[in-house]
């Protein structure tokens, strides 16, 4: 008799079951839905606020695109509703344009991608995937969420103050950022959202280290959890540096300390900066210092945005290829290598900052070496689907789309890692193309993959597969047609963050390409309505989700279809690694982590309280 036949007991994982309310006790509406400490509710709160900010940031992007394609022409539909301080005759004004590029990037990075990757996914996945009831510090978790909307609204409130919102790019380099109410609000917001990151990161580390289910070793963690774990280390080590940069900038803005302001500097209006008077002759601050502090955080921040998504993609691919991750440990070590190298490459953002060219050589070599662990990951994903049995669902299509676009983003990164090439393409549309291939094509496709993949567990309903596939196909096509041509105008020398490129003779021929890009940007924006519709429609009309709809191995699928507070309705013990697909031990093509092998005596169980 084969051992496999005794695994029949986990057939129940396929049955539909009612919403579980394990450990649930009645709490007020406010405690349950607003100031909740349940990690799943907090995850949904992160998800909701991020999707809201995604729509806002996306709308800003479309204003930007409209101006680049048809400069001076009124923005369709909304142009006439905007105040005259932002638009003239409905067309974007130069000052408003710089606010738009700043706020688009700030929102997308600090209030969409980071909260989605490390807020929504970490919160939802970590406790469920390690088989525990909640985070180690649920109240800290709640605070970590509520800092985000407060910070986001603080930054956005800049639009309603004199002089408008922050307008010095998401990098907020002084001296430009050292004056103006909008910049102060930006700094306060970033400081707050930084604390959200730090609190979240500490909590995730404590949870993964202390709250794993019985029998679960570190090398039994799914790659999503591994990636989130390493990301948390980046958050905890990197974000304080951003917070300190923000605090120092604030001191310059409010008290004119002159930390980043050199001696005897003219203000844009022709006067002198107040700082010069205090510092005295021969003194003065150094603007480049801010760039070092900023990028010491913000380069690792790129990995904070992409690593969790790489973990998600790994899990989605293994599940839908019905095959174990190729080189699980190599994947873990590659994540660690990316994280470590991520801390020693920040200078590649500063090749042209006036930093010693000798350091340029160092940063060039360290940066280009980071392509190695990234390649390892791509090869291992290919190895994972090799000889697999690939099911095409919305999550797996998004994960495959992630690989295809991430490769482009990774390769365009090599151009900028090479200093002498960066001299020309720095601050052009080439970098704009690169960052969108990494953060939209990479992070966002991965986030879509994860969102569809865990939607059944989050809401207890299945999303609509047809709509999901349409959403993927339309997004994938429009994404590439929107962002790939940006490489081309970047090579043409098209600078970024310019309100009207056609001031320059050499950029005039690129207007048709800018219009082409804008058309597909608008279509891409419209395609996202499919996601919104599918998301909301399925909440009400979706088919009830089974407990383990994807026949996956990781622990979240052992929980009830729509887990209540406390998550699990059974004791969880881990018996094996997370990717035992097509194992000869089982008749089925999967073998979940929690299934007891027949050769282990059934233990006495203690029910969860």
């Amino acid at each position: 008799m084969s051992a496999a036949s005794t695994y029949a007991e986990h057939a129940d994982t396929l049955t539909h079951d009612a919403h579980s309310h394990v450990g649930h006790h009645s709490v007020s509406f406010i405690r349950k839905y607003i100031f909740s400490t349940d990690h799943k509710t907090i995850a949904k709160q992160f998800l909701t606020s991020s999707l809201f900010f995604l729509l806002v940031g996306g709308a800003f992007a479309l204003f930007i695109r409209w101006q680049l394609a048809y400069p001076g022409e009124p923005i369709p539909i909304v142009g006439k509703w905007l105040p005259e301080t932002f638009v003239s005759n409905g067309a974007v004004q130069p000052g408003f344009y710089t606010q738009l590029v700043t706020m688009h990037a700030t929102i997308m990075i600090f209030f969409v991608i980071i909260p989605l990757a490390t807020g929504a996914f970490a919160n939802f996945c970590i406790p469920l995937m390690i088989g525990t009831d909640d985070m180690a510090m649920p109240t800290v978790n709640m605070i970590s969420f509520w800092l985000v909307p407060v910070a986001g609204l603080t930054v956005m409130s800049g639009f309603f103050v004199e002089g408008g919102a922050a307008a010095s790019g998401w990098t907020s380099y002084p001296p430009l950022s050292a004056s103006g109410t909008g910049h102060m609000l930006w700094v306060i917001g970033i400081f707050l959202v930084g604390f959200s990151s730090i609190l979240g990161g500490m909590n995730y580390l404590a949870t993964v280290l202390n709250k794993r289910a019985k029998g679960m070793r570190m090398f039994d963690l799914p790659l999503t959890v591994w990636a989130l774990f390493i990301t948390s280390i980046l958050q905890v080590l990197g974000t304080p540096v951003l917070a300190s940069a923000a605090a120092l900038l604030f001191v310059d803005q409010v008290f004119h300390a002159g930390i980043f302001i050199p001696e005897n500097l003219l203000t844009p209006t022709g006067g002198l900066y107040p700082s010069g008077a205090h510092v005295g002759a021969g003194g003065g601050g150094q603007p480049v210092l801010f760039q070092h502090l900023f990028w010491f955080y913000s380069h690792p921040a790129v990995y904070i945005m992409i690593l969790p998504v790489m973990g998600v993609v790994s899990d989605v691919l293994a599940t839908f290829a019905r095959k174990a991750i190729f080189g699980y440990k190599a994947m873990v070590f590659a994540i660690m290598a990316i994280a470590f190298l991520g801390f020693v490459v920040w200078g590649h953002h500063m090749f042209l900052s006036g930093m010693s060219p000798l350091l340029g050589t160092t940063f060039m070599l360290s940066t280009i070496v980071i392509a190695v662990p990234s390649s390892i990951k791509v090869f291992n994903w290919l190895g994972t689907i090799w000889k697999g049995n690939i099911h095409f669902t919305t999550p797996s299509l998004n994960a495959l789309g992630f690989i295809a676009t991430f490769v482009v983003g990774g390769l365009s990164g090599v151009f900028m890692a090479i200093g002498p090439i960066d001299v020309y393409i720095h601050d052009t549309y080439f970098i704009v193309a690169h960052i969108h291939y990494v953060l939209f094509g990479g992070a966002l496709f991965g986030i879509f993959a994860g969102l569809y993949y865990w939607y059944p567990k989050m809401f207890g309903k299945m999303y609509n597969e047809t709509l999901g596939k349409f959403h993927f196909a339309l997004t994938f096509i429009t994404f590439n047609l929107c962002f790939f041509p940006m490489h081309m105008i970047g090579v043409g020398g098209h600078m970024r963050r310019i309100h009207d490129p056609y001031v320059y003779e050499f950029l005039k021929p690129f207007q048709p390409i800018n219009q082409f890009i804008t058309v597909f940007a608008i279509l891409m924006g419209l395609a996202q309505l499919l996601l919104v519709f599918n998301f909301l429609w399925s909440l009400k009309y979706g088919r009830p989700a089974p407990r383990n709809p994807w026949r996956a191995n990781t622990l979240e699928w052992a929980a009830p279809a729509h887990p209540g507070h406390g998550n699990f309705d059974r004791d969880i013990t881990v018996y094996r690694a997370p990717y035992e697909y097509a194992s000869p031990e089982s008749k089925r093509d999967y073998l979940p982590q929690w299934i007891r092998p027949p050769y282990i005596e059934k233990e006495k169980t203690v029910s969860v309280s």
Partner: protein, 280 residues
């Protein structure tokens, strides 16, 4: 005049500096390596997607990886990318290392000011006067030392500059207010202009003509319009232009000397510096 192409290599503006061709070649090298890797990965991806798609009777294999393969595909990109980095380093040194700065045929100062570029030429004596930030005012953007006689005949221009062809030009670059970035697309050179620092930029233009100078670092609402023009001229044309500027400056200095009282001919720059220091 403009043809659309998916090949990004066709988009370079014409290169007109001694190192522009070498930099473009480096870009082409990385481009073709990238295209090769791109095709390798995407074709593999598509082949796997088609070959291992689910269908009745198809099964995945039980397989956890292979350390030899891992080793190979770690080593191969390491060698490729580290080699590429080391190979490129030479061009980085050529363009940016101060130890590799060629002997200048002409030296000028350039500062960015929202939203204009200003240049300072050495004038009749061929020497740029000393400068220091403490002398800087809205009228004396370069902070020319009023006590240095070499500074008196220096010529300051805004927006449009002339330089000689086939000469090593060294630009001492700075800014008087916020960060700017000095970008000459045709010369393939770019350098941030940092207030408080003077950074050397060098180039040698090979073809006479008018070339656009851009600001590549966001510097405020007028950033997009911070455009300058560089006229690259033959030696003869440049000398004529320079002589005219020197003559004009001499006339200005003479007029100033006449208008100030006969006993002390205080230069205008010194007056301004004195005025601003009392205003402090």
């Amino acid at each position: 005049m403009f043809d659309f192409s998916w090949n990004m290599l066709t988009y370079f503006p014409p290169g007109v500096s001694t190192y522009s061709d070498a930099l473009d070649d480096l870009f082409r090298l990385v481009y073709w390596i990238s295209v090769a890797i791109f095709l390798l990965v995407q074709i593999t991806l598509v082949v796997f997607i088609v070959k291992y798609r689910t269908r009745p009777g198809h099964k995945s294999i039980y397989h956890h990886g292979n350390n030899v393969v891992e080793f190979v595909w770690t080593l191969a990109p390491t060698l490729l990318f580290a080699g590429l980095g080391l190979y490129s380093d030479e061009m980085w040194k050529v363009v940016k290392y101060s130890s590799r700065l060629p002997l200048p045929d002409i030296e000028i100062d350039v500062v960015g000011q929202a939203f204009n570029w200003h240049a300072r030429y050495p004038g009749a004596d061929g020497i740029l006067g000393k400068r220091h930030a403490r002398y800087r005012t809205a009228q004396n953007l370069f902070g020319i030392d009023p006590t240095d006689p070499h500074g008196k005949d220096d010529i300051v221009l805004t927006g449009e500059f002339n330089l000689p062809v086939n000469k090593n030009v060294v630009v001492h670059l700075s800014s008087v207010d916020v960060l700017h970035s000095y970008f000459l697309p045709n010369f393939r050179i770019k350098q941030d202009a940092v207030p408080g620092s003077w950074i050397d930029v060098w180039f040698n233009g090979t073809k006479p003509g008018k070339y656009e100078l851009a600001c590549a670092e966001l510097c405020g609402s007028g950033h997009y319009a911070m455009r300058g023009v560089l006229n690259l001229q033959s030696d003869k044309d440049f000398a004529e232009w320079m002589d005219a500027k020197i003559a004009a400056k001499k006339a200005v200095l003479a007029a100033e000397a006449a208008s100030t009282s006969s006993e002390t001919a205080v230069p205008s720059t010194a007056q301004q510096a004195a005025a601003s220091s009392t205003a402090h």
